[in-house]
């Protein structure tokens, strides 16, 4: 089933109310502001010769600009007690699920005050307080989500796990194993597939044998819905159903969102292979949503400015915290392998 944006009637019955809509917009602005700050700081000290391992933020960087609607629309239905597993491109989900921005930034900057004390980095963020985790191995964040859902279910709660991955990952074995087991055991999981059209440089048409992964959901005995237009409210509406189904013992379901990777697969990706860059700014989901909300009277200049100002304040604070945090002691490089010190 393909869903496009629900009609915005004055009664608002098909979609979120005004306060929720404003919240979705502000969440997306916060995410984008954070990603823009990282974009700037990641590249700032890698010149004149671009060296991936140099600078205050070394290594690979996968930013989520354009994919904010998925995070905002899904996470609006979650609490900190629900679990989220994400991928190598995790920031939008981490932020929307309530991760502390300072500890997120500090981990990305590799500092001792980071979520993982600088041991994990941007692809390996673990936040027990929000039951958030992510993995750099494609599709392998799906199986642990089953376990979190299993624990929640066994303990008699209505907490759920949301597992997010990309359309390329939907061709990896773990994806299929996980869907089957989740449906078989009726676990409280919502599976999300972010179809941003590109598995690094390979378009979905060259990787996937079916038109959408919502179709694949049926093969595993669960409902599947596809949101076609990267609209946050369409995501919100579909996610509401999926989350409710999981919370009330209805088992898992799958949501695929046709979203947009505004920037490269990784920072430094020249994207020479990409055929859809012309006019891409016109498809920016935040710009589009802003226009919709202005037309509906939910946003005015003051509210737009406030969203941006508030986001900048939070992001600037987080980045400043990260920059001023201590670097981990190299003498402790072998710590934290086990819960206790073990002789080498």
């Amino acid at each position: 089933m393909t869903v496009t944006s629900p009609p915005h009637t004055s009664t608002g019955q098909a979609g979120p109310d005004a306060a929720t809509r404003l919240g979705l917009y502000r969440q997306m602005v916060l995410i984008r502001t954070f990603e823009e700050a990282l974009l700037r700081d990641y590249h700032a000290d890698k010149s004149p010769v671009w060296d991936i391992g140099a600078g205050l933020i070394p290594g690979e960087m996968h930013l989520s600009a354009g994919q904010e609607p998925v995070a905002a629309g899904v996470c609006a239905h979650l609490t900190a007690d629900d679990a989220v597993t994400a991928t190598h491109r995790p920031h939008h989900l981490a932020i929307a699920h309530g991760m502390d921005l300072r500890r997120l930034a500090a981990e990305i900057f590799g500092r001792e005050t980071g979520l993982g004390r600088g041991r994990g980095g941007h692809m390996h963020l673990f936040d027990p307080g929000t039951h958030f985790s992510c993995s750099g191995i494609i599709a392998e964040g799906y199986p642990p989500a089953l376990g979190q859902a299993f624990a929640f279910s066994r303990r008699g709660t209505d907490r759920i796990a949301v597992a997010v991955t990309g359309e390329g990952a939907a061709n990896q074995g773990a994806f299929h194993e996980t869907l089957n087991l989740a449906a078989l055991w009726k676990l409280p999981v919502v599976f999300v597939v972010e179809d941003n059209d590109w598995g690094i440089s390979v378009p979905r048409s060259a990787s996937t044998s079916v038109p959408s992964n919502a179709v694949r959901a049926a093969a595993y005995g669960m409902p599947g819905e596809r949101v076609e237009d990267n609209a946050v409210e369409a995501v919100w509406e579909v996610a509401a159903r999926a989350v409710q189904r999981a919370r009330t013992g209805g088992g898992p379901s799958l949501i695929e969102v046709h979203t947009l990777r505004l920037w490269g697969h990784f920072e430094g990706d020249a994207q020479g292979y990409r055929t859809d860059l012309e006019g891409i700014a016109d498809r920016d989901p935040i710009t589009t949503y802003e226009a919709t909300l202005r037309a509906d009277g939910v946003l005015d200049d003051a509210a737009v400015t406030a969203a941006r100002t508030d986001a900048l304040a939070a992001v600037d604070d987080a980045i400043a915290f990260a920059r001023s945090s201590p670097i981990p002691d190299p003498a402790q490089a072998t710590a934290y392998v086990f819960t206790e010190e073990v002789p080498a």
Binding site: G116, R117, A174, P343
Partner: protein, 346 residues
């Protein structure tokens, strides 16, 4: 004959290694409702190598769960549940199947604690059957503990006796770290495999722990040290008994019991005393356990060795099917005895 019943004398209760392992699991499951066991054929079948015999009847299908053939999914499920504080035991039916799910094991189970700076624990056990000798051929006969021990972040235990099987299982379940528990099919005492008298022995009825990371002296000796693990402990002990009876040598046998952590002190204490080392390893010879045992001595002081070390391992070949071929490459008693004779100069 008096009217008062005399108390029954104390019994010697024996179990096979398989039953001891299952008893350890049962005691911990009874004590902690968050311990559960999942894997293929672990329910009504009781595990194809007897690891979960009787558990389904005692605890029911909510806690002893048969899974589909989906190792990545169900081992990943165990990982996720462990991060939420449960204590899962997941069974990888044959260690040879590690290929289909190794990412969840070595990139997730083993690394989450480290990557999270110690903020997230993974208190789970991964059980798996290892070993050959009954013609199950190249894809169903391996040991592969060298692979698991090589990858950082998971403890590795390999019991050889019923007593250790129960005690190490209890320790593994109670450990807050991921523990890979590798049980050799040939030590399990299965009625449908070749008879192994050392696979049945006295096992205390209560719960007890065998410390992870500590070797034991299976047989004390003075002339030569055999360092080994798993079924090879039985073969080494048989060889040592025979050589002692023949007056050839008094051989000490060290059962490592754990590979991670490795009890390097125990290896050092014995070899620095005897000066002669034979390593018996049913895993592939190169780049594995046997080399690590040797390095434990040479890193510290190679001059304690009076003769070069003998390694008795599976050569770097896939394990053959035909019985004679298989037994030529396994670390059998003939090869062990020849190695001991070489280092003692007999």
């Amino acid at each position: 004959m008096t009217a008062i019943d005399t108390p029954a004398p104390a019994t010697t209760r024996r179990l096979t290694t398989a039953k001891a392992m299952a008893e350890g699991i049962a005691l911990e499951m009874a004590a902690n409702p968050e311990v559960f066991y999942l894997g293929e054929d672990v329910g009504a079948y009781g595990g194809i190598f007897g690891s979960t015999g009787g558990l389904l009847e005692q605890f029911g299908p909510q806690r002893v769960m048969d899974t589909p053939i989906s190792e990545s999914a169900f081992i990943g499920l165990a990982i996720g549940a462990a991060t939420e504080g449960m204590r899962p035991i997941a069974e990888l039916m044959f260690v040879d199947f590690m290929g289909v799910c190794l990412d969840q094991i070595y990139n997730h189970m083993a690394k989450i604690h480290f990557e999270s700076g110690g903020n997230v624990k993974v208190p789970m056990v991964l059980t798996t059957a290892v070993g050959g000798g009954y013609s199950d051929a190249a894809q169903h006969s391996q040991c592969l503990w060298g692979v698991f021990a090589h990858l950082p972040g998971m403890k590795v235990v390999v019991p050889s006796t019923p007593y250790d099987a129960k005690g190490l299982m209890i320790s593994a379940i109670r450990d807050d770290n991921p523990v890979v528990y590798m049980f050799h099919k040939g030590v399990m005492g299965l009625p449908w495999m070749a008879k192994n008298p050392r696979a049945t022995d006295v096992v205390p009825e209560e719960a007890y722990e065998v410390p992870i990371g500590r070797a034991r002296t299976a047989r004390p000796g003075t002339d030569c040290t055999i360092v080994t693990i798993s079924l090879s402990v039985h073969h080494a002990t048989d060889v040592a008994d025979r050589l002692a009876a023949d007056g050839v040598a008094d051989v000490e046998v060290i059962d490592l019991r754990s590979l991670v952590p490795l009890d390097r002190e125990a290896i050092w204490e014995s070899v620095s005393r005897t000066g002669r080392l034979v390593v018996v390893d049913e895993d592939y010879r190169s780049f594995g356990m046997s080399g690590e045992v040797v390095a434990t001595i040479t890193d510290r002081d190679p001059t304690v060795l009076r003769r070069p070390v003998q390694r008795v391992a599976v050569p770097d070949v896939p394990i053959p099917y035909a019985h004679g071929l298989e037994h030529a490459i396994l670390p059998n008693t003939d090869r062990i005895e020849a190695a001991v004779r070489a280092v003692v100069g007999a």
